[in-house]
Symmetry: C2
Subunit: 352 residues, 2 copies
Amino acid sequence: MKDKAAKPGGRAAPAQKRPAHRLTMADVARRAGVSTATVSRALTRPDQVNEKTRDLVRGIAEELGFRPNLIGRQLRVRAATSLLILVQDLDNPFYAELIKGAEAVARANHLSVMVGGTDGLEEVEQLYSEQFLGRRVDGLVILFGHLPAGISPKMAEHSPIVLVSEDNPALNLSSVLVDNVGWAERAMGYLMERGHRRIAHITGPLARIISRQRQEGYWNALAKAGLPQDPALEALGDFSFERGRAAARELLSLPDRPTAIFCANDEAAVGAILGAADLGLSVPSDVSLIGFDDIMLAQISQPPLTTIRQPRQQMGAAAAQLLIDMIEHGPGKRAHKQLDCELIERSSVRSI
Amino acid sequence: MKDKAAKPGGRAAPAQKRPAHRLTMADVARRAGVSTATVSRALTRPDQVNEKTRDLVRGIAEELGFRPNLIGRQLRVRAATSLLILVQDLDNPFYAELIKGAEAVARANHLSVMVGGTDGLEEVEQLYSEQFLGRRVDGLVILFGHLPAGISPKMAEHSPIVLVSEDNPALNLSSVLVDNVGWAERAMGYLMERGHRRIAHITGPLARIISRQRQEGYWNALAKAGLPQDPALEALGDFSFERGRAAARELLSLPDRPTAIFCANDEAAVGAILGAADLGLSVPSDVSLIGFDDIMLAQISQPPLTTIRQPRQQMGAAAAQLLIDMIEHGPGKRAHKQLDCELIERSSVRSI
DNA sequence: TCCTCACTTGCAATCGATTGCAGAAGTTAT
DNA sequence: ATAACTTCTGCAATCGATTGCAAGTGAGGA
């Protein structure tokens, strides 16, 4: 990659004879007997050039298969061209749909979307920050709750950056969020309305703000119902299927078994279905389950999962839109967009 | 976006006073009392400039927070900077993992990854083709079996383009594939080894080559075993969960019910589990099921699905690598990379 | 003392398109 | 016929960095 020097020995040079002179506007101009300025105008501002000239130039450009070099254009016309979406885990289905929403809006605004999966690695964050600082991307959608290494909070203040899904109140950045605390409370409320009193919680990884917020909602609901917090009813999870399964086994082996479990996400909830099955218990007859997110899995699981749906695609779209506004009008003041979730009733909860 | 003209009425202009003159090398140069050439070298070829000058320049660059404009650099140094991955449906989990694999390899080679979801729309394909023709991206990973609108086969011959997952033999392009026919046959073989003779098939959408290849594998296996093709045993699917469910109901309502079903993909297979359940039948005791792909769902379904695993991440990585080679050494001759699948034995098949 | 060579640095061209400004040509009004 | 406009086109600067070439400096050798 970096070293193209001809190898001393080796097989004969495979490359083409000449570097295949790339077609530029100058070529079209020469061929049409006009200046490059005219070519440029003929191609991008048809009304500013005489009809005959325009058709001539366009014809020749067509015939030659000329396409303007977008890098050249971009250097001159400083218009935004792309957004970068930063994710920790690119193949998490939750993010995929979000990316889709953002891409659609970006595309409608003549922007393209780059994606970067950081795996949580600082060096990779740094690398992508460079793209932003080097103005190769014009805005940043961040799907984790911190600034990527290489971007200082002060810098971020004045930049088109938006935090999505996971907030970080310490940074005062624009964001697109759902009310995790409130909807966790709502999920708990749903369980309580159906008579459940002894309700366990499988958390997400507590290092993540989003997990702590859902936990807070769990606590709030308990408090409002005058129920005590019982540490034994909180099992540490990490959003994974396997951990959800194990956690459910722990919780359901308790002497005084909970009648329902609020899971911090769907994947863990589906794990919990199996964890229950491991103990010969079935959902919802022996234990009720409610999840969070409404990933595809939630519809397909047996039983289908009652859960809180996050409007993922809309979140992505809103993020892109916010960014585009910031790019056009300057960062201005922070915008905090909050989208509504929805409780999707399926069959993993029964009344008692 | 296109029209920035000041709105006649409205609130006061929110934009900053001045467009915040962007820092360039010239600024650093002036401040350091050297030429931009020296700044450039001090920053990118440390050994070519005197130690003292270098430190001075770097210090000032640091202090000023200068970052070189990557667009300017890219215009001058024609090095590849990015790959574009084109997909029909961005939130299909199958592709997400593939993108992840490609991104990792791209990143390791100092390239970034753009993604485009076309939804199968020609106009969107056209739009992304433009990015490629305009040299804003240097290579194309295509995850569907045709060239995007706007790129002619002849053009494609000489360009860094690779078809992944879905081939199109008509185009003679480089590709990264699995042997869909062979592995479909293998799936069928697995069923037959376990005594199944009456085996149905839920196809994918037959417009897609990949579906037809798996179907061909199904037929081949039948033929090799001396079994007849029975049209009644082939149900048209579309890779979706719902259609899989419906198809399974049709097949299992047949007077002479199949003992096993080979599903063209996992999502349909999981649907089939429920389709069977709809008829009071259970998997694998009443009917065996084998899928294709090994998406996450396959591990989690009840019962977990026996299936053919495609090495998605490797496919993405191989595609990126192939592209990078083509970019460095010219397209050269076509490379067809075939990766191995793996039969993952879980519990959706029983011997009879 | 003069020559050669290595090491630093700057000049200016270059990548490819866009666009402000001004001149040329043509039209209309007076 | 002349002034006043329009309309069209080209010149040349510009966006921001990189790099071939040449010049300047100082050290070391003859």
